[in-house]
């Protein structure tokens, strides 16, 4: 053993001797463990992944704003910015910076509101329910009277009596086949198809509008005074003010029903949520579930 030692170089001898030392074994194992943990940790480091879809989206935003595509360098910039944002955000979460932050809380609440609405499918009410709802809200769908009519105009700027006389004369003649163009040109339309009486009232005044409801159908009547002069009118058809049937306004009623149901659901959802919590304001327990 001594002999063999003497044959070896002194350095080697030290290593060999050290290799037999328990302390060295201990240190080596420790170092290996340490490296192993380091490698393991590095493999476990949280990953920031930006996939192709998000990258395309980011570049898209950029292009919309700048009205051109980003260069390679600018794309690197966009990526950098996104990565920085991500790591900062995660670090902030790790440190609990999201706690007691108004904006974060609001955004979360907003997202939750959206999420709770999206998951709830809108109800498809059965016929009886929809009908009952319509009966209750009928007044919302009432349509004004509608008229289809023609009229002739007699300007009274050059004398009311003359205009009235011309209009009366014309009324006597309109029964004849060629008698229908005795009136004067008029800046507003001379014929209306299915016009709302509200619109007519606005443009011609109350007297004229109510005459359209009063006069007999399919014959020339008048003269009727308006804000402009005198008119002969011939009403072809009238639809009186009416509340439509459910079938006529079904999509609107359904939308209104669902809107109302959606609101009710949101309210219930919130009320239920509140029940899951005990609420204390200023140290005093509240019962605000109503």
């Amino acid at each position: 053993m001594t002999e063999s030692l003497s044959k070896q170089s002194p350095v080697r001898a030290v290593i060999v001797r050290a290799g037999r030392e328990p302390l060295v074994h201990f240190l080596l194992i420790g170092a290996l463990l340490f490296v192993g943990v380091l490698v393991g940790r590095s493999l476990q480091r949280p990953v920031v992944r930006i996939d192709a879809q998000e990258l395309g989206q980011l570049a898209g935003y950029w292009s919309t704003q700048m009205q051109r595509d980003p260069t390679n360098e600018e794309l690197q910039g966009i990526i950098h910015e996104r990565v920085d944002e991500e790591v900062l955000a995660r670090e902030a979460l790790r440190l609990g910076l999201d706690k007691d932050d108004m904006i974060v809380r609001r955004r979360l609440a907003q997202k939750m509101t959206f999420a709770s609405e999206d998951t709830a499918n809108l109800p498809e009410p059965d016929e009886a329910v929809l009908k009952a709802f319509f009966e209750k809200t009928k007044a919302d769908y009432q349509a004004p009277p509608r008229v289809t009519f023609r009229h002739q105009f007699f300007n009274s700027d050059r004398g009311k009596d003359q205009a009235l006389a011309r209009a009366k004369l014309a009324l006597g003649k309109v029964a004849s086949p060629q008698g229908e163009s005795l009136g004067e040109p008029f800046l507003l339309p001379l014929s209306y198809s299915d016009a709302s009486l509200i619109d007519i009232n606005k443009d011609y005044g109350q007297d004229f509008a109510s005459a359209l409801i009063r006069v007999p159908l399919n014959q020339w009547s008048g003269p009727i005074a308006s804000a402009y002069g005198y008119h002969l009118i011939k009403v072809d058809s009238r639809i009186s003010a009416k509340t439509p049937t459910l079938d006529e306004v079904r999509p609107d009623v359904l939308a209104a029903y669902q809107e109302q149901a959606r609101k009710a659901r949101n309210a219930t959802f919130l009320a239920d949520l509140r029940k899951k919590y005990r609420i204390e304001i200023n140290g005093i327990p509240q019962t605000i579930l109503k």
Partner: protein, 632 residues
């Protein structure tokens, strides 16, 4: 638009080539309209007059919010449809003239929605130093807050949190949603829009940006990005390329101190054809009258126009600094510069049509009724005393002058109840009304909803005014307002001017044609009376209608009975026409005199009208011009 041209081949000259190019990108709409069944109720090939307001602010505008306005875009649309809403001074407001036909909410895009956010105690914006004292209900403090924010905007020193995109997006979405909800084709049309609020050194270059459809950019392009309107137009061009059709309407040129129609580009470079095309492609019409004054012309620019002194505002926008340069700030003057430039340089950057709108900051579209006036900046001018129409502190006379330390009273006094948008469109829809604006078939009124038709041709039939197909023939053989006459073959052009009163307003007194032309290298103007009311004939010596004797009883605002006409209609041939002189013509029709809003305020208060203010005005309507070009 393409449909319209097909229906009226004679009117093709009515649209500049720059315009045609930009609209050609919508074949789908044309195909839809070709089927008769697609027409809405009230569809009329001869077109109907529709009345609206394309300049409306709500609480989402930074200034309106400071003025205590809390009404939303939805409230604005409700008001336009005839509903009652609340005013920030604590009373209810409602249109007395009935619902409007179309409206665009156009909030300031700069820091849109941010003041509402900042007022929220829970918002981090609320803790910024500038917010201190910003949301007072005291009119004096409101004024100070407004000035502070405007100054901060001017120096770009508003905290960057105010420009948070999330806040802007939320407001922009609210605007789009309200427009979508309230758009009701055939009855009520809404447009998505916003105001580009540029004012270099306080000189007003504001314009309203109006989108044709629900297809709009992610966010508005605002004056924070650039104060130079040319950059806005480039942005609009890019939007258009991306399928977003849009136009801009400049306003308050009267507050620009000559800047709106300056004869160079904003950056000082010379104008050229490309600039002119860019401008006209994006700004076919201009808002010539609104509450902050009328920008048709100024008495100093039109000394021979006895009616030039209508609701003139001679100060900067938002502060009491006096305007010193009127040329470049009024549209008649600009139209004249434009035709002169066309002659000397070969392009015309000022070839625009006319429209009016209110600029209400009370979310109250169409609130330009003299007898039902509450001005437009919320809690700062909602009461008569605040706008100088009644004596201060409950006094009964004007013996003691009212203090006006910051000049607000002076400005509010000079504002007018004026500004309604008129269009001639086939039906009440976004497509039809937008197309009317594109081809400049638009008109402006000082508030009443009077209608005016204006056509030109060389050979209308002799009896055209008596024909029941007047409008059909007028379109078929001529051009409507906003159009271009073909070169003359020697004959002078004839104009059909046809106007009808508003049943809820006064009677018409006279119809006029305003002409501008170029003579020996100088742009000139003249105002012709072309029709008189009450059987009166134009006096050949003066060229004017004689006085029709219409007056107003200032104790109750009652007009003289049986004066004026319901309708004015004439065929006029220009007696001064020279085929080699480039020219434009537009119609102006005046009502009999009636009480100005300040007089109504005084009567309701039982005090005499403010002696510094005109007690009466003559309400009026202006058509868009028709241009004449000599053959080359």
């Amino acid at each position: 638009m393409v449909v319209v041209l097909a229906a009226f081949p004679g009117s093709t000259a009515g649209s500049g080539s720059a315009v045609t190019g930009s609209v050609a990108a919508k074949p789908a709409v044309v195909a839809k309209k070709d089927t008769a069944s697609a027409h809405l109720p009230g569809y009329n090939t001869e077109r109907n007059a529709y009345f609206g307001d394309l300049h409306v602010h709500t609480k989402l505008s930074f200034d309106a919010y400071i003025f205590n306005v809390r009404a939303s875009p939805d409230d604005a649309y409700r008001f336009a449809k005839g509903d009652t809403i609340g005013h920030s001074s604590g009373f209810n407001i409602r249109l007395s003239g009935g619902p409007l036909d179309f409206v665009a909410v156009t909030d300031h895009s700069e820091y849109i929605g941010a003041l509402q956010e900042a007022a929220d105690k829970n918002s981090p914006l609320n803790r910024l130093p500038i917010v201190e004292g910003l949301f007072s209900t005291d009119p004096v403090k409101i004024g100070a807050a407004f000035t502070r924010v405007v100054e901060a905007m001017g120096t770009n020193s508003l905290p960057k949190e105010f420009g948070d995109k999330k806040i802007a997006s939320k407001a922009w979405k609210e605007i789009q949603d309200a427009a979508e909800r309230n758009n009701d084709p055939g009855h009520f049309t809404t447009f998505v829009g916003y105001e580009f609020t540029s004012a270099p050194d306080g000189r007003n270059l504001h314009r309203n940006v109006i989108f044709k459809s629900a297809k709009v950019p992610e966010l508005p392009y605002s004056a924070v990005q650039s104060q130079d309107p040319e950059n806005l137009w480039h942005q609009m061009d890019s939007w258009r390329k991306a399928g977003i059709e849009v136009l801009a309407i400049p306003h308050n040129m009267n507050g620009s101190d000559g800047l709106m129609f300056e004869q160079t580009r904003r950056d000082g470079r010379a104008m050229d054809k490309a600039y002119s095309d860019l401008r006209m492609r994006n700004e076919p019409i201009a808002e010539i009258t609104q509450i902050k004054g009328t920008s048709e012309t100024h008495p100093s620019l039109s000394p021979n126009d006895e009616w030039a002194n209508f609701e003139i505002m001679e100060s900067y926008i938002g502060r009491a600094k006096a305007i010193t340069k009127f040329s470049g700030g009024y549209v008649r003057d600009a139209l004249k510069s434009g035709i002169l430039m066309q002659d000397t340089k070969g392009f015309n950057p000022f070839k625009f049509g006319f429209i009016g709108s209110s600029d209400t900051h009370n979310a109250a579209p169409g609130s330009v009724e003299d007898r039902n006036y509450f001005s437009k900046v919320g809690r700062t001018d909602g009461k008569p005393e605040q706008r100088g129409s009644i004596p201060a502190e409950g006094r009964k006379t004007w013996d003691i002058p009212t203090a006006d330390p910051n000049g607000n009273l002076g400005r509010f006094q000079s504002w007018g109840a004026s500004g309604i948008a008129g269009v001639w469109a086939e039906e009440n829809s976004r497509d039809a009304i937008y197309s009317a604006m594109r081809r400049k078939e638009t008109f402006a009124t000082s508030g009443p909803r009077m209608r005016v038709r204006f056509f030109a041709a060389y050979d209308y039939p002799q009896n055209i005014l008596k024909r029941s197909d007047l409008a059909t023939v007028a379109y078929r053989s001529g051009v409507p307002m906003g159009g271009d006459l073909m070169p003359s073959k020697g004959k002078a052009p004839q104009f059909i001017l046809w106007a009808m009163r508003d049943p809820n307003s006064g009677y018409l007194q006279r119809a006029q044609i305003v002409k501008g032309w170029v003579e020996n290298g100088v742009a000139k103007e003249a105002v012709f009376d072309v029709a008189c009311s009450d059987h009166l004939a134009i006096d050949p010596a003066t060229g004017r209608c004689p006085d029709n004797g219409a007056k107003v009883d200032l104790s109750n605002c009652e007009p003289t009975k049986f004066k004026g006409d319901a309708e004015m209609k004439t065929l006029w041939r220009d007696p001064t026409f020279k085929p080699n002189q480039r020219a434009f013509y537009y119609a102006r029709v005046l009502e009999n005199p009636s009480c100005r809003w300040s007089t109504w305020d005084a009567i309701r208060n039982g005090t005499p009208p403010n002696p510094k203010l005109l007690p009466t005005i003559q309400e009026r309507v202006w058509s868009s011009p028709i241009w004449y070009a000599p053959s080359l």
